[in-house]
Amino acid sequence: MSEYSVRRAIRYSASWTERLDEEQFAYLLILPAFLLVGAMAFWPLVRTFELSLHADNLFGGGYVGEFVGVENYVELLTGERDSILGNPFLSLSQPFSSAIIVTLIFTVVSVGFETIIGFGQALVLDQDFRGRRWVRVAIIIPWAVPIAIQGMIFYLLFQPGIGFGTSLMQDLGVFTATPLINSVDSMIILIVADIWKASAFMALLILAGLQSVDRTLYKVGRVSGASRWQMFWMITFPLVLPTLMVAMLFRTIQAMRVFGTVETITSCSTVPTLTCLVVDTFSSGRYGTSAAVAFITAVIVGLVATVYIVWFSDVS
């Protein structure tokens, strides 16, 4: 019997798992984990989508009414649901499109500042100086504060008669006398509150990236006569960029889902974000509409995450 025939005989006599090639076998091994993750991550999304295809049911005992296809989506996007979604932000005419823009502005501005400030903090923490441990603690504390406490701090700060923030900012000619009911003032306060809290998160992640940079590269740079700025731009930044992208991805996703900070500091009626619309419509028993807004929010967040990940793979 030839060697080939022997091998074939062994293969046919083996169990079906042994007949799989290595790649197929690897997929088989990860299948249970994939199914579990799928059930945990995608089933709620599928269920939300299914709910979003049903009418609101305000009178009956069930959660949702009859199947209406994509009617909820059409009415959300054409403005037919405006009356039940609350007031648009500022003069933007439709609450839904307004909420998308408000959420994006909040995300871009806050994540932008958090990245710059976090990078600065990380560069400071990367230096060896006396009391570095205490500075680290000071930077981390805001991140450790629960959202509700963070919200109460800023709420009380700008509550007339209680906090000093309002009169101070008014004296500087920046805010109105009632900033927590003024949409523009509230938006600024929310962004500042978010930067205050989340910069530390960025700093910690970027610091991890900075500390993984091979220090000998700086020696080479110094020998080559590179300036500090050149060493930062040619060595530090490219090597930290993958970490920076991951940090920005996390923060962007978090910022796009912002709700707790808004609700505790101002209110969803003053700064209506996408998640605010989901919660408000859910609270009023409009589960179909709420599911539709939630699904669109998930799609937008998913798209942004995909763009990041594609960009991130290019950067890597």
């Binding site: 609101d56 305000l58 009178f59 009956g60 005992g61 069930g62 959660y63 649901r81 405006d82 009356s83 039940i84 609350g86 007031n87 509550q159 007339p160 008669g161 209680i162 006398a177 009632t178 927590l180 009911i181 003024n182 209110s267 009626s269 003053t270 408000d280 609270s283 009023s284 028993g285 409009r286």
Partner: protein, 468 residues
């Protein structure tokens, strides 16, 4: 050693046997007891023993008792919880404590039991005849069937510093402010002059933030005192949705808004009302219950609009320096277009007890609700738990008026109960409420002109009513 161990074993076995026997006896004694699960708050839970005793004193059979499960302190969360439980067809809790502000949607969806078919006729008569009409209305279907027993009520009044007002030259006792409402114009003069004389930081503290409290309560009563209404008068408060007039853009509502703006911004406001004074800080536009009460309790405000619990706190703090009066009026009832508006008006708050239709202890739960409506239990909740009973007849008794602290203010609270204005709760009220609160707050904050904002609000409310 072995002997000692054997003895110990025999003692242990003997003791275990005796305990088992006692346990068996207790169990057999409890076998005939039906326990009704009551969804309540921490106060109910902490006082469950006393509540059971009070229910038995009010005639509940000894073999029925209640146990309390604690729900959230936040009314909206409780509502969501009940909605989920009832949609899932859970048979417990047997009795559900429901906010008078959202009982009607549960009635409309057929999710709670019709008590007109369950309670004894004497209980039904007692509830319908003795309780504040507004409380009963918020627990009833459009055909008049009762679906919940009013448990306690919340009625706002104006609480003010009587000592300061008297020093400023006014005579609240002589003019009988406690039971004869004064006009908003006179009120603004009183507060303005007192504030100037006492040099206090604030005059009148109230709640004008853009939240449910503004639409359901503060503005609802302000508008009603001017003869205005959201849906053309009291008859349309609870529907029919889509078929009732929407009257938020009528003159009484505009006048109420202009008065609110004058209170906050004075005569410099483009839409101010002549003869009314600036008495409130701009801060009220951001204030809900907590901050507005703090201003008064810290001695920084002459007066505040607050609920009975605030009255109790203020009376403890200020003693006889505290004065209480009903909400002032904008126009007299005979000057108002809609029946039941004009004159003083107090927004109705409070809680009801409803029966889970899936309860497996339905009869025993009904017995509990029968006992709740009786006078001995009303007196217990008032005296021991500090809950203001919705029972107007009981509140007129000498016994009620002798209850510590409350007795001095009972006549004012009773008047508030008789003139209470419920929030117009239907299944679309949550959507309408936020739209109203946002617009009203924006007008008071000078961000939108009153007439223009109310026309826009009318259009929004029409859309919402048409959405179901």
């Amino acid at each position: 050693m072995a002997q000692s161990t054997r003895r110990r074993f025999i003692r242990t076995v003997g003791a275990t046997g005796a305990l088992s026997g006692l346990g068996g006896l207790t169990a057999s004694a409890q076998q005939g007891t039906t326990t009704i699960q009551w969804a309540g708050n921490p106060v109910d839970n902490q006082n469950v023993g006393a509540i059971n005793q009070a229910l038995h004193d009010a005639g509940l059979p000894d073999d029925i008792e209640i146990s309390v499960i604690v729900t959230s302190n936040i009314s909206d969360d409780v509502q969501q919880q009940y909605r989920q439980w009832l949609q899932a067809g859970r048979n417990q809790p047997d009795i559900l404590r429901m906010d008078s502000g959202w009982t009607i949607p549960f009635i409309a969806r057929g999710q709670i039991a019709n008590l007109s078919q369950e309670l004894s006729q004497s209980s039904l008569n007692r509830i319908e005849n003795n309780n504040f009409t507004a409380s009963v209305n918020t627990a009833s279907a459009p055909n008049g069937d009762l679906y919940a027993v009013p448990y306690f009520t919340d009625l706002p009044t104006i609480q003010y510093r009587r000592d300061w007002v008297t020093n400023a030259g006014f005579d609240p006792d002589g003019e009988n402010w406690a039971t004869e409402p004064i006009s908003w114009q006179r009120f603004s003069e009183v507060i303005n002059q007192t504030q100037q004389q006492q040099n206090t930081q604030y005059g009148y503290s109230w709640q004008a933030n853009a939240y449910e409290g503004l639409s359901c309560c503060t503005f609802n009563e302000l508008m009603t005192t001017w003869g205005g209404a959201y849906f053309g008068g009291r008859d349309n408060l609870f529907g029919p949705i889509g078929e009732r007039p929407i009257t938020v853009n009528e003159q009484p509502v505009i006048q109420a808004l202009r008065m609110g703006r004058t209170f906050i911004n004075g005569q410099n406001d483009q839409f101010s009302l002549q003869g009314y004074q600036q008495i409130s800080p701009q801060a009220v536009l951001q204030w809900t219950e907590g901050p507005s009460q703090s201003a008064f309790m810290n001695g920084n405000a002459v007066a505040m609009r607050w609920w009975p619990s605030g009255l109790y706190d203020a009376a403890q703090e200020y003693g006889n320096r505290l004065g209480v009066m009903p909400i002032p009026y904008g126009v007299r009832p005979n000057q108002a277009e809609y029946q039941g508006t004009g004159g003083t008006a107090a927004a109705l708050g409070g809680w009801h007890l409803a029966l889970n239709p899936n309860s497996q202890n339905r009869q025993a739960a009904v017995e509990v609700l029968n006992a709740v409506a009786k006078v001995p239990f009303r007196e217990f909740t008032f005296r021991q738990l500090g809950y203001l009973p919705p029972d107007n007849t009981y509140l007129q008794t000498q016994r009620a008026q002798q209850i510590d602290i409350w007795g001095d203010y009972l006549e004012t609270l009773r008047l508030a109960g008789e003139t209470a204005i419920p929030r117009p709760v239907t299944v679309v009220w949550p959507d309408e409420s936020s739209a109203i609160a946002d617009r009203v707050n924006a007008v008071l904050a000078q961000q939108q002109p009153p007439q223009q904002a109310m026309s826009a609000l009318q259009s929004t409310l029409q859309d919402i009513e048409g959405s179901v």
